[in-house]
């Protein structure tokens, strides 16, 4: 549960495919086949259910897509959406407890004890050590008292004993998703489990789970060179928008998140209008829909929560972060770009494909094959999310003896080519062909399809957009690519982050990374 990595929209989702390959009637044939197999229903509470029949084997996969992620964490509470996601595996008032009424009383005491302890720790005059020790003891005792009622991991145990496969969840900056696959005869059991945890989450074992999440941060970010670098890239590139904030949470904020805050997040964002549940596999919509309605109808209604309204101001100066440490050199740079709704979204995809996809890609051929200065070089976008304007980024991994500066020069040369010379007809056609084929490939996978359908249903209000995006792909022209490259890839819109290798850790610490000369337009 908890990986934070979000594959997000399946690469150019499966669907579009059929078009070029099957008939001049375009993809209508294909859309039609899905029209026949997909049933959607919006329940009175606003929650959308989507069922796609694919009876290849007696199994199904589901995806619950919550349109809220760490971008929605309140100020000072970074990491909250992710923390709640962990809580959603801890059971409900019916599962995971021996006596909920008594447990509830005990949990309230835990919360009160935590608040008292936190208040003393944050005493502006300085915490009193003896008082802290006493409060810590009451807190520990309260937790122990609450633990007596816990049946540990019962929610996941019931799921796993009933054949759950690939059970997990992901919290991204834009959204939170829960998913697994199961034998088809467990559909009703799943509906009970999933709807229960959406409706009836209990802040059970919250503070121990917070320690677990802190270890997740240590693993993914603090103890990993690329994790550290990427956190700095984003924190530098964004001055106002929450995309610049640590998704797993800044250490001080993560360590102070309370169960009360997590439950408040749940109350605000886990409402019907903010949730899409998709099921793909060996299910009959006519039989399954009433079952799902019965269970998911229990999710509270309420208006769709307001979107985060901060808009990142236009960047006007190039920015640069240099980490000097013992690890090997690394280079990444990012340029601000619009979100997925922008008419140029497919143009950015085309640029990514031409620059990065496979051994024919421009960055591979230039930096890896011909100059032999990098072991790997790619552009990727949108990053770190797509719901709001994010970045188009490039990275390169230098081969032994080569430096981040050389990566920058070589990447900028390829960017300049994009700006000054049209891509070839062959490159453009290749992008369109590969986008279709990739979409097609994704269709034969229950879980991938469930994720994609839920995401498109949420983001566009209609799963058909999964197929219709081919229109936008087809419309991309060579002139579009030059125009977008010229608008986007300019020095004043750039943030650079790199690792420069220091001989020893102490040398790295001693240098404290003085700012390098600004690169200017290259």
């Amino acid at each position: 549960m908890m990986q934070r990595n979000l594959p997000g929209r399946l690469p150019a989702m499966a669907a579009i495919f059929a078009a070029a390959f099957f008939s001049c009637a375009g993809y209508s044939q294909d859309m039609k086949s899905f029209e026949q197999r997909i049933t959607t229903k919006v329940l009175p509470n606003g929650l959308t259910i989507l069922i796609c029949e694919r009876p290849e084997a007696p199994v199904f996969s589901y995806s619950t897509f919550i349109d809220a992620g760490d971008v929605d964490d309140p100020s000072g509470e970074s990491g909250l959406a992710h923390m709640f996601e962990h809580l959603a595996f801890k059971g409900t008032s019916q599962i995971g407890t021996t006596d909920y009424a008594a447990e509830k009383v005990a949990l309230d005491k835990v919360e009160a004890a935590n608040n008292a302890l936190e208040a003393e720790l944050r005493n502006p005059a300085g915490a009193n050590a003896q008082k802290v020790a006493e409060l810590k003891k009451s807190f520990d005792d309260a937790q122990k008292a609450a633990l007596k009622f816990v049946v540990p991991n019962q929610f996941t145990e019931v799921a796993e004993r009933n054949g759950a496969h690939g059970l997990n969840a992901q919290t991204g900056l834009d959204e939170t998703t829960y998913f697994w696959s199961m034998p088809e005869n467990r559909l009703e059991l799943w509906a009970w489990l999933e709807s229960s945890r959406l409706v009836d989450t209990v802040p059970r074992e919250f503070y121990k789970e917070r320690s677990v999440v802190e270890e997740e941060r240590h693993m993914r970010t603090d103890s990993n060179p690329e994790g550290r670098l990427i956190e700095q890239l984003l924190a530098t590139a964004f001055v106002a928008h929450n995309y610049g904030r640590s998704g797993v949470g800044w250490p001080s904020e993560l360590s102070q998140i309370t169960a009360t805050e997590a439950m408040a997040f749940h109350k605000k964002y886990y409402v019907g209008s903010n949730i899409v549940v998709s099921v793909v596999g060996d299910v009959k919509a006519s039989e399954a829909m009433p079952v799902l309605e019965k269970y998911f109808g229990k999710v509270p209604g309420g208006p769709k929560p307001l979107e985060m309204t901060t808009v990142e101001p236009k960047q006007f100066a190039e920015k640069r972060v240099v980490i000097r440490e013992q690890t090997q050199p690394f280079y990444v740079e990012g340029y601000h770009r619009p979100n997925y709704r922008d008419p140029d979204d497919a143009v950015f995809d085309a640029i990514q494909d031409i620059m990065s996809n496979g051994r024919v890609a421009r960055l591979y051929r230039s930096l890896v094959r011909d100059q032999q200065i990098a072991a790997d070089a790619e552009g990727f976008s949108p990053f770190p999310g797509d719901k709001y304007p994010g970045l188009f980024a490039f990275y390169a991994v230098p081969v032994p003896g080569k430096t981040p500066d050389q990566m920058a020069t070589a990447i900028h040369k390829e960017i300049d080519r994009l700006k000054t010379t049209d891509v070839t007809d062959g490159e453009l056609a290749m992008y369109k062909t590969r986008a279709r084929a990739d979409l097609l490939r994704g269709l034969a996978n229950n879980q991938g399809l469930a994720n994609a359908l839920a995401e498109y249903q949420t983001r566009y209000g209609d799963w058909r957009e999964l197929f219709r995006q081919l229109d936008r792909v087809d419309k991309v022209t060579k002139a579009d690519i030059r125009r977008v490259a010229n608008q986007t890839f300019i020095a004043s819109n750039r943030t650079v982050a790199e690792i420069d290798t220091a001989a020893t850790a102490s040398a790295a610490a001693g240098q404290a990374a003085p700012a390098k000369n600004e690169g200017g337009q290259k």
């Binding site: 990595n5 270890e215 993914r220 013992q326 090997q328 995809d349 003896g401």
Partner: protein, 503 residues
């Protein structure tokens, strides 16, 4: 259209190290609180109907007279055709002085291309059709694979066969591959998990073992184009397994494959696998890494060969020990004590040699000793605390109710059949294995634990930040702490240096 968050974004080889261990273990009976019986279990009242009838579609198997085996798996859901040729012999069979040869071979074979069409031209031709031909090397095999839209299947097949039979290994492409691998070598100490995984294998199998040894700058630089050609010529005479799947007509496809492979000479039998596994020398081993705030702990020993008849019992025991959220290890280390996010373990089964025992925990630095002790408590409990009927029932539910996912797609069924063929297991192995799992008893679990869990024989490897590990590893009282030197030969730096030196 595509979004990615900070961890998945770098999908290339340099960023594939984020994989996280999430295996579990069941309740550690000695430490878990006793809970009163739950009276109301509403989920047990939900009916579970009979599962829909399902007979997975088996591929057609064709054994040619020369020993080559073909598999054909029709699948008309999507208009694609894919195939592979699996070739016996891999990195465990390469000359130790040229360690890395098979990896270089796997890269250079494809990037070089053939006499008729060099690798770059092949890239252009294939990518324009959204098609792929790839080659690669593994521990015990190499492989060539292809995939394309149905409309291009004949042309792509011909290209793939040209590459199989007429490769032209290119000096420049070898040099490119050497540089890629050298980049990996000088970076291999940057990531804590990578260090831990690698050094744990060395402790179990021995540093020079074909299962644990690692390429060095000096060994990869010795590899020549002639070595690659010789490797190719030798391995191609082995018992190939050809597998195709997708949107085709089996009769026509079989004829096509026969025309290609029937004319080959009789395949040479696979060389016997004679590697011995020493097992670790018990003790505590330490790698210092100054830039981390979390330790990566690996407690390791020897595992099982899948031929071993105890495998079903041990698989069940694994589930109780470290196989999921309800496992003893997960419940204790993560849920009860909140010591780590990543925790898991068990005995692994390799198909033709012993696997490993491995318990992995990643606690913050100052909890290192506690996490190790808790893990040992759980391991010891496997022997000292008899298994219960409840634990067995849970393990059976976990394993058997999700067993279906081993063959829920035609592609998985095909891959399984190829694997069984390659290692010489009967084609109905999955069914007999499942039947054996169903028969496991509590007595079997207790016997398996007694026979295969030996905490006193395990090595404890810690990769972490010495200045933060307090209390220190000496407080484990498991003898002297052995420091492991991970300096990369041929580079100037200690832990991770070497950037300034060109190979």
């Amino acid at each position: 259209m595509k979004s990615s968050d900070q961890l998945s974004v770098f999908s290339g080889q340099w960023f594939s190290r984020f994989a996280c261990v999430l295996l579990g273990g069941a309740l550690a009976l000695s430490v878990m609180p006793r809970v009163c019986a739950q009276e109301n279990k509403p989920w047990e009242k939900i009916p579970i109907p009979q599962l829909h009838q399902f007979k997975p579609q088996q591929p057609k198997r064709v054994a040619l007279k020369n020993g080559i085996v073909l598999f054909l798996q029709e699948d008309h859901e999507l208009p694609f055709v894919s195939g592979s040729v699996l070739i016996p012999g891999g990195s465990r069979d390469e000359d130790a002085a040229k360690c890395g040869l098979v990896d270089l071979y796997g890269q250079t074979w494809r990037t070089s291309g053939t006499e008729k069409l060099n690798g770059d031209a092949m890239d252009d031709l294939l990518e324009a059709k959204a098609a792929h031909i790839e080659t690669g090397g593994d521990l015990d095999s190499t492989a060539l694979s292809w995939e394309s839209l149905k409309a291009d299947k004949d042309q792509v097949y011909d290209l793939a066969m040209d590459l199989l039979f007429h490769p032209k290994f290119d000096q420049q492409k070898l040099r490119l591959a050497q540089q890629q691998d050298a980049t990996g070598i000088v970076r291999r100490n940057d990531d804590e998990g990578q260090i831990a995984g690698r050094e744990a294998m060395k402790l179990v199998y021995g540093a020079d073992s074909p299962y644990a040894r690692q390429p060095e700058l000096s060994t990869i630089s010795k590899v020549t184009v002639a070595d690659l050609q010789a490797w190719h010529d030798r391995s191609l005479g082995g018992k190939l397994i050809v597998a195709v799947s997708g949107d085709f007509d089996s009769a026509a496809m079989e004829a096509k494959l026969r025309a290609t492979f029937e004319k080959l000479p009789t395949a040479k039998p696979n060389p016997p696998n004679q590697y011995k596994v020493a097992g670790p020398t018990p003790g505590v081993y330490f790698v210092n890494k100054e830039d981390v705030n979390q330790s990566n702990v690996q407690i390791v020993g020897v595992g099982l060969d899948r031929h071993n008849p105890d495998v079903p019992s041990v698989a069940m025991m694994n589930d109780v020990f470290g196989g999921g959220f309800s496992s003893r290890l997960f419940q204790t280390v993560r849920t009860r004590y909140g010591l780590a996010y990543a925790v898991g373990g068990g005995l692994s089964f390799a198909w033709d040699h012993p696997g490993t025992f491995d318990a992995t925990v990643m606690p913050r630095s100052d909890k290192t000793v506690e996490a190790i002790q808790r893990s040992f408590d759980v391991m010891t409990s496997l022997v000292s605390q008899p298994f219960t009927e409840d634990e067995l029932k849970r393990a059976k539910d976990n394993i058997l109710n999700s067993f279906l996912f081993r063959y829920d797609t035609k592609a998985k069924v095909l891959a399984e059949r190829v694997r069984l063929e390659f290692y010489g297991y009967p084609p109905d192995y999955l069914e007999t294995y499942k039947a054996a799992l169903e028969k496991v008893t509590v007595a079997d679990l207790n016997a398996a634990a007694k026979k295969y869990i030996h905490p006193d024989k395990y090595a404890v490897l810690v990769v972490g930040n010495k200045s933060e590990i307090n209390p220190g590893l000496d407080t484990l009282k498991m003898g002297p702490v052995h420091d492991i030197d991970i300096t990369i030969p041929g580079t100037s730096g200690g832990g991770g240096g070497g950037a300034e030196k060109e190979q």
